[in-house]
């Protein structure tokens, strides 16, 4: 991907404004899209079908034309930014530029796919995106809760894993999905509780604790998996699964309907939680206090807010949410396997940072990362020249760029990671 090179080049011009820098990046991307994607795209029709396969209605465009057209749109967006765009146009223009770049890329890819595969099933893509983003959404929400109250949560991975494990274990033993769900929440909050106690009471560095807890969760679940689940899978690792719930009317919406509204409880729960967390964080007393504790605990304390108590509560709650996120694997899709989260917790951390510590931002970031992941799968299926691994790197690259201030400033809650010591 050309993103990092271009961005680094832009940063050398330190006297440029942010809008101009981003404009320059977009310009370069647009140029890349127009010239390279345009040249590589074939004259085949690129079809974006509104279904799960090649059939049905589709949006179509000639590959070369599409690649060049969308590339030009990106170019235009970049040029507009260079030409002193008013500030309120920054975000929309950036979105237009990036989306057009992706579309140009897709036109090239779809049109260059082996004959007969020149289509992209949008329903599949959207559904896959959400499916892959699911643990990220739960995980990054857990991160939001922790870090907004001033505790760095690097242990998301461990919380997800523990949730997945206890969901599978207790779901299997009891034969009830609901017991499994509750157990998953408890499992996640167990890791969280350790994080809270050691970082708040014993003042152990929160990042150290997070890393160690990830290993602990990996060890405990792996150990018990081999001892229990391997030996007696029927009894310990065959949890019942939540079935898909179709939501009437909404499920009839083209593309989005079948992709989104025929999902399982976890999908609805995730979206609901984003909404609830967002409202709670910015509209309620709890949210105001939580944010104050994460930003300026001393000020909160002088106004009678119980800083440590609030931190304990939020961290444990965060663990419960991540635990449920883990169960979105074992109580809906797969049976438990060792290390089944496989780094998703860290992408969730990236989503949290990329989403600027806000629930909705985290959701969008998670979806973006999920889309990158899904795209990698799709490109693999059509034998693309673009290696899936490079798309998989995208979330991490994007986060590095964001943290370095190249894609706009991200700012953590001011007291994030700092233990609060009274007096």
């Amino acid at each position: 991907m050309a993103v990092p090179d271009v961005a680094v080049a832009a940063v050398d011009e330190g006297y440029w404004t942010r809008t101009r820098k981003v404009g320059l990046v977009l310009l370069a991307l647009g140029l890349l899209a127009t010239v390279l994607f345009g040249a590589l795209a074939t004259g085949e029709q690129a079809r974006f079908t509104l279904s799960e396969d090649a059939a049905g209605a589709a949006l179509e465009i000639n590959g070369t034309v599409g690649a060049i057209l969308f590339g030009l749109i990106t170019l235009a967006a970049g040029a507009a930014m260079l030409a002193r765009l008013p500030k309120r146009w920054f975000i929309p223009m950036l979105a237009v530029g990036l989306v057009a770049f992706v579309l140009s890329f897709l036109c090239w890819q779809v049109s260059a796919a082996p004959t007969g595969q020149n289509f992209m099933p949008l329903v599949n893509i959207v559904r896959g995106t959400f499916l892959l983003a699911l643990p990220l959404i739960f995980g990054s929400l857990a991160g939001v809760l922790c870090e907004r109250s001033g505790v760095v949560n690097v242990a998301i991975e461990g919380q997800l894993l523990m949730g997945a494990f206890s969901g599978a274990l207790f779901g299997s033993i009891s034969g009830s999905v609901w017991v499994g769900l509750v157990a998953a929440a408890i499992g996640g909050s167990f890791i969280s509780l350790l994080l809270a106690v050691f970082s708040i009471k014993y003042l152990v560095d929160q990042v150290v604790m997070g890393i160690v807890l990830n290993l602990l969760a990996l060890g405990i679940t792996g150990f018990l998996y081999e001892r229990l689940m391997q030996t007696d899978a029927a009894r310990y690792n065959s949890a019942p699964r939540f079935s898909n719930w179709e939501i009437p009317l909404l499920s009839d919406i083209p593309v989005l309907g079948p992709a989104l509204f025929r999902g399982n409880i976890f999908l609805y729960l995730a979206l609901l939680l984003v909404l609830v967390t967002h409202i709670a964080l910015f509209r309620t007393r709890w949210g105001l206090r939580t944010r104050s504790v994460g930003e300026h605990p001393t000020a909160a304390d002088t106004l009678g807010v119980k800083v440590l108590g609030l931190r304990y509560r939020n961290v444990i709650l965060a663990g419960a949410i991540a635990g449920i996120g883990g169960a979105s694997y074992t109580l809906a899709l797969f049976s438990f396997t060792k290390n089944m989260i496989g780094g998703k917790g860290f992408i969730a951390l990236a989503a949290l940072i990329f989403g600027r510590w806000s629930p909705t931002g985290a959701l969008l970031a998670a979806l973006f990362f999920g889309f990158a992941d899904q795209l990698a799968t799709y490109l693999g299926a059509i034998n693309s020249v673009i290696p899936g691994q490079f798309l998989a790197m995208l979330p991490y690259l994007a986060t590095i760029l964001a943290v370095a201030g190249l894609v706009g400033r991200v700012r953590a809650p001011a007291a994030d990671g700092k233990p609060y010591i009274k007096g």
Partner: protein, 562 residues
Amino acid sequence: MEPGEIHALLGENGAGKSTLMNVLYGLYQPDEGEILVDGKPLKLRGPSDAIAAGIGMVHQHFMLVPVFTVTENVMLGAEQVRGGIAGFLDRRRARREVAEVSERYNLRVDPDAMIEDLPVGVQQRVEIVKALTRDVDLLILDEPTAVLTPQETEDLLAVMRSLKAAGKSIVFITHKLGEVKAIADRITVIRRGKTVGTASPQASRDELAALMVGRTVRLTVDKTPATPGEPVLEVAGLVVDDDRQVRAVDGVDLTVRAGEVLGIAGVQGNGQTELIEAIMGLRPLLAGTVTLDGQRVDGWSTKKVLRAGVGYVPEDRSVDGLVKEFSVAENLVLDIYDRPPFGRGLSIRPDAIARSAKERIEQFDVRTSSAHAPVGTLSGGNQQKVIVARELSRPLKLFIAAQPTRGVDVGSIEFIHSRIIRERDVGTAVLVVSSELDEVIGLADRIAVMYRGRIIGIVGPETPREEIGLLMAGITPDPAGDAPATEGSDSATADVIPGGAATTDADEISSETATTDRAVTATTDGDTVSGGSTATTDRDVAATTDGVASGSEEPGSKDEKA
């Protein structure tokens, strides 16, 4: 305290004013004594108790969440909520409340503004709104004017008046005489943790200054007249911002000659720190030049400046001066570890470092269990001696000492002072910055007074201390004079009825002008060098001798009567 009274708590830095008020706000627990509100003793376990008892406090460092709006900050901890258990914030109501209070006391606060976007003066008013919405009767303002511009100070005093009119009591902590005289109904002076007197605002500035600074034991710094040589350090037109991008040094010109001590006096936070840091290459210059021995050094790295023959004692030894985990020996070579004999090529020579440490420890009388003890285990005075020893161990052209004896015991003070004078006597140019006026008077051959980022006067050390004290408060003795005078006259204008600075307190100022004319020179004038044989200064030596000549001592100073 009476209702509707403004009670000023006056005292030097570190006199214990803020500690007292923090006890009153429940942040610290008193070791002894009690607090009476409406005649009843009150036990404060925390700030919420204080708020419940009707006490509000505006801290020196604001307790505001920078990324919250004004309304959110005001709501926090006392939120109005709707929707039962969900606890939705009733922003509209809170907003209205903020607007109302702001209106009633003429505070002019926008409820929807983000704190971090507001200037300091407005932030302070937000703090006041915060206290007022909690229905406090007693408002404590801790050094409220320390961070304000003259205009903001004036606004604040107006606000205080309207609060007073509304029947609120105010405790006003400060060390600025002008403001006190302008606003206070009653004045309590605190020194070294004790009440040393009460006064009415009609008391003259001299009286107040004497009470505040105290005069007990005379501590002398033996020194011979200076023999100033060529200029070593020349600073011209220096402009520097502080960490918050606020102008801290605003066009300073300075000259320090070989073999003289130039003292910079001034209340903390008037740009001294930034001035020194800019000279040392620790802070970027926005304008101006720094010349060392005829060579431009602005833009140089700190290392280069140090290697050019500048010794530097930073004002905060635990933050900037020492690495506490390092041994005494390591700290003694912190800025020359890579120079022979301590470093050779890529390696350092621990034996050479230890050997030199042993010498230095002896020479500078550093009391430590061993050269390898972590410097953090030493007492403040000995830590400071480590820094002084380090900086004076190499040949210097210029020696800069910022607050060289802050938090240091008497014995070490004397020792450090004598080393500074000895350094002067071998022909080094010395620049001493101190907020302790006595120290500056004792050490300096010339005293530059800094106020709001400018040098507003350069005087000789024989100038009466009250007069220098007035300069530190921004009052120049020549009201019709040059730019610094008008710039620095905010405290005077504070009690001005429209009409101009010249008419204010006319009798007092003019009488002082008469006594000081001989010693005060213009900023650029550099040759008023003291000719005294042994400069003697007043120094209040710790609490051991306290009260020898001080005013009426009030027992039970922690009692507050309402």
